[in-house]
């Protein structure tokens, strides 16, 4: 490499300095999901991004679900998936498979990826250290959904213990209720609840879309008031509505900024954190 190129690289490092300073010692909760989970290159890039964050003094916490992989394994054991109002009806056997897939497969893969990139990841579910307490929920039309839950309480003591000692928590969206039933939860909502409980500086949703699009136009920056108004907009559909709802809830409970970004862009997390314009949609509170 020529000296000029090396110097150019040093310049790039220094461009990141203002962002490193701003986020140093802060926590960032990242909902990991979508196509990024199935692309070998993107996965490794993501893992490297996370390890870099940790080494420059930021505390990342990763939350993940994994609907597609659950469906695949249900099929393998010859069990048909049933959906009610778009939510997976989860009988005991489905829950068993769900937990094996989320906590025993996807979670371990993320841990391995990050450790391979040089981090110290620790895989968790909401059961570990009584991290989450959930409650069973019904569908909108009040139909039984089986072992589907909604997160009600987060005990961050395990996360603090790990984060302060240099470990990176990777959390699957499985938990338990007070009756100690295992429940499947919406990972977007889990990410919001963890970000709120941990008083995170940022909550980032990695998705397969560029961000929130209204009338075909990317909304780069939304105030919390604007975001709340858009919750009822017709362009805010299925996948986006729960994320936007969670984003608004997070801001209302004290998270500074929420980002909905395209995880298929290489190093999307770094781009969001370490460039001035960022990518995707940012929703911010009144005193961000």
């Amino acid at each position: 490499m020529k000296l000029e190129d090396k110097i150019e690289k040093a310049n790039v490092l220094l461009e990141a300095l203002p962002y490193i300073k701003r986020f140093s010692g802060k926590s960032v909760v990242i909902k990991y999901g979508g196509s990024i989970m199935f692309d070998e290159v993107l996965k490794k890039q993501f893992a490297n991004d996370i390890v870099l964050l940790k080494y420059v003094g930021i505390h990342p916490i990763i939350i993940h679900g994994g609907g597609k992989e659950i469906s695949k394994w249900m099929q393998r054991v010859g069990k048909e998936a049933v959906f009610i109002d778009g939510l997976r009806f989860t009988d005991l056997e489905t829950m068993e498979i769900t937990e094996m897939v989320l906590s025993g497969k996807i979670n371990n893969e993320i841990v391995s990826l990050i450790n391979e990139a040089g981090g110290q990841a620790v895989g968790l579910s909401g059961k570990d250290g009584n991290l989450f307490t959930a409650e069973r929920v019904k569908s909108k039309k009040n139909q039984d959904l089986g072992f589907v839950g909604d997160i009600k309480d987060v005990d961050i003591s395990l996360l603090e213990t790990l984060s302060n000692k240099g470990f990176i928590p990777i959390i699957s969206s499985v938990g338990k209720n007070k009756a100690h039933e295992t429940l499947n939860m919406n990972a977007d909502h889990v990410a919001q609840a963890v970000a709120t409980a941990f008083n995170a500086m940022k909550l980032i949703y990695l998705t397969d879309v560029q961000g929130l699009q209204i009338n075909g136009e990317l909304q780069s920056l939304l105030s919390i008031d604007e975001a709340i108004q858009l919750l009822t907009h017709e362009d805010v559909k299925e996948g986006m509505l729960p994320k936007l709802t969670c984003a608004c809830d997070a801001i209302k409970s004290g998270v500074d900024r929420v980002h909905i970004i395209n995880g298929t862009i290489p190093h999307a997390t770094l781009l969001e954190l370490f460039t001035d314009t960022g990518i995707g949609t940012m929703i911010e509170g009144k005193n961000p």
Copy 2:
């Protein structure tokens, strides 16, 4: 309850005091395995025993395998188990299922059981926090076994972090090698390696037999020298040989005492720790 009965109960509590004092602040590594894993009553008793240990100031660390459950799930997905020299040949798909069963199912069940009993368990595999480093092994006849490994190194920093903060680590016998391949390991050996690395006071193997039987007679107490001699005895077979070998290795590397006990006896762990005669077979070092 009559007052006399209450007083009698208080007397029983006080009989445990000398044992509580002796083990206070010490670590005990327990290999959890065998029929106890499939009996609802024994499982709950075990969980209560572990929580009691933690609350009286002892630091339990649980290691588990789960061969039977792996076979069951392999069957469910229509995959035949292949054994070479008594060891499961583990191709990539088998490893995938193994990890889902061990880390995603059995491990979570133990975490749930202990948390239901009032503890703060955290489920781990050897990947979490780079806890284990393993190496691939071949069969005795030098045949390829696929993703089967032997534990080579234990980094206890995650275990210390958790144990000191009141959490109970539950560890599945899955790890990785330096090439970041996921490997299945022998849980007896993992338990020995963890006990050695953590400088545990005791290593307890919960089995389905009363202990080591030679010529039809239970060996209650063996010196390390006696135990080593018995390694080649004809009555020390399959299931017992690896445990006795691990026991000897543990003693040689500094663990004070190793116990091979019958996990199907209710509260076997408490009986071992809190009664004078103990149960099963105890192997002890020269300066226990």
Copy 3:
């Protein structure tokens, strides 16, 4: 011992687990007094109970008086005891003997008993580390009582230092006023003041009676309001009235529960703490 009996003992240990969990890390102040102080068997049982509490994570603090022993030693040196309104008139010489008996004899005996049972007791009076500050009091009819005082202020820094490092404080009811005069104090009241200052979870009075009896019937449970009303009941006499008054004061200042129990029942303290129904009379606050 047969295996069944051992298992039964393990079951008894586990019955204590919910109580151990509830009280773990909490402080319990125990007023030690009455016949229990003169019975060799009860004394040793008491000491064992206290050491067990410490080892299961509870922080006991013991307060004691010792009127009978003071009278005995006054007689030995040929000094007549004088009582005014039921309170010992305490001239300088009486105070000298009182302090020698309480701090130099009874206190040391309790320290020895507990250390013999395996604890790390430290004997204190209100002078040590300026633990108490008292004021001289007069009799109800405003007669001079000499060096008799009432506790006004407790500085818990010495108690915290000792308790956090694993020591068990044993405190005699002798202190000083701001003029540095040594004063004799009522141990029931000292216990209440220490429990209040230390924000103890429980205050236990060990007495010679079964608890508070009204119209010949044991009052197992009293709300603070009921207890206050009973202060003027004709069945609440001499020995009981100051204890009930102190109990009400303790509850009013934030102690969760106060117990008046029969110390002559073997292991009375353990029975109170570790059985569901408890023994004697319990007075509890509005949000216990």
Copy 4:
């Protein structure tokens, strides 16, 4: 006061600075005994000296006996003192009185004096926190001495806990053996053992004489070799021989310097520590 006089006082303060720097953060064990214990003015001066030491960053630990006061109280209860080879024969009743006098009277008086001077003293005996372990001893002619002991082991954890938190330990020469019998010990020897165990910078014996006199001449400074030779000198008698023996033992076990000084000189401790020439006799090790 005139300004010149004030300035002169400031100069005196500053003369102490080199000594304060030298001893800052170090421990000094002081054997308190002799006439100083019975003179109201000297007692208060002593207490002020000790508090000043604590406030300028030195950690004083006080050891005391109290033979004369024991004799006085034995007489009061009509019990005759018996001496064998100059040592008090100590039957159970004598031991009871001895403990009451040492731990219940003299110790409390010293605590009060120091607290009145503004310190935070805590009275201890060898029983508290299992501070000492002793063994019974016989007379030189092998006669039974009853409950007389010699200190064998010092557990400094209680002393460290108190000293580091700003408290001043005051220790009576009463302890226990492994059979939990209460034993009376020689305070000079206790002081030496505590100084050795605590790795004190200085051990100071407050006596009624100017120091060690040989052929009528004060020995201001002795090397350890000179001191050992003088142990058999005819001028080293009764009271002095045990002190000189203890001094030599202390130096041999690592204490830097031992002083035998006249406690009846006002502020003897301060004079020793804070003036260049010191007072009395100093014995020093080879690398003081």
Copy 5:
């Protein structure tokens, strides 16, 4: 020295004990200035006073300016001093010399003096650790003063770090504004701002006069209300007015007491802190 004289010295030490107790662990900010800076004897006495304070547990922080020395060096490099409304007009070159003199000469001299006296001084300016943030000011008549600033913000983290580890901060009155221009500041005001930010117990101005004189009479004690009224008194002129203004500001922002004393009196700081009547003028708040 005769024994009586030594004893008299010990008595003097003990007279300081009440003051040492009162100020132990507290911070005292001292504005060092005036003739004391140019007298070899006074300088050394001052240094010894400061080291003594540190060793007896008080945390001194020294602030200094140095106008005369600046003028001298300006003259040496042939630069004329210009004053506007009594304030030095500070062009870039003047600022350069000012900083060299204050931070490179006077500050180092004070550090050396204190270290020579046995302390651990650390020289700082307002730039170090971003200690101060200032703003440019104009003259009263709104004329440009060049690089002259007024302190607006104090970040005490560096001072706390150093003070807690036994170091003595020596601070020159040079700082920077948000544009990172170096500014010269009034040291009296800097001392007030540091005392306020550090929540100091005392702020002491060392001057060349006896204190505040009104109608030729020394004002020994002023309440804050009296002091405020005197701000407009005709006898409060040049040098005194800014000090009295700063004193009032300090009291209003929470400093307990401010002293304006004559630094040319030997050991003025010790006399103020360690004698009952003190010297000079004391202004105290409503609840000192």
Copy 6:
């Protein structure tokens, strides 16, 4: 900026990750000197490099001299510089100016630069916190050099205190001897002594040349043995000889690697630390 360019920048950041991991938590001592001190652009780049190091978890410590600036100011005050054997003869007045320039001007400029770049720099000389102790030295021909010293001892407690709390120490090469005389020292040697005392991972000399050139060829990598041999090579002259000598001394006393690099290359420090080939000359020990 186009997305592709942003992604490219993220890739550059990640290339630094292996270096960040390797140096995380380690100390690097940097001798700052040469033309870099006089170039506004290079100075700012240097400051940014240092702040980036601190934020990614590396602990930089900066040492500087400043011969040219000293000469300039001597000239300004009309004082002629005298050199003996190439060393500045330093009379008292020269020393005064030297200290003002090094500690009052250059040091403050570096502090300002780094703070402006977002760091928390603290300027020190060897006097602060008794950081260095030096001894006077003579010229090679044994001529008096006045106040010129050689560093003999480094007390790192102040550096540790500051470095652990996030501050960046900037140290001028001025110190004192035991007689408290201010001495001027060679900054290359100071850097070596500090690197050795602090057990730094790296010592970097920023110079005006590309590194060590032998027979016109840059020596990229030298073993310690090779470096020692080159000490007598004719191409190792004036400026380089002391640096190479210091480098060898540093390696011999335990520093892992020493670098002699060209400070005029933009971001020379970053290039050295964060690229694989590095720049300039590296001397490494036997087990680097």
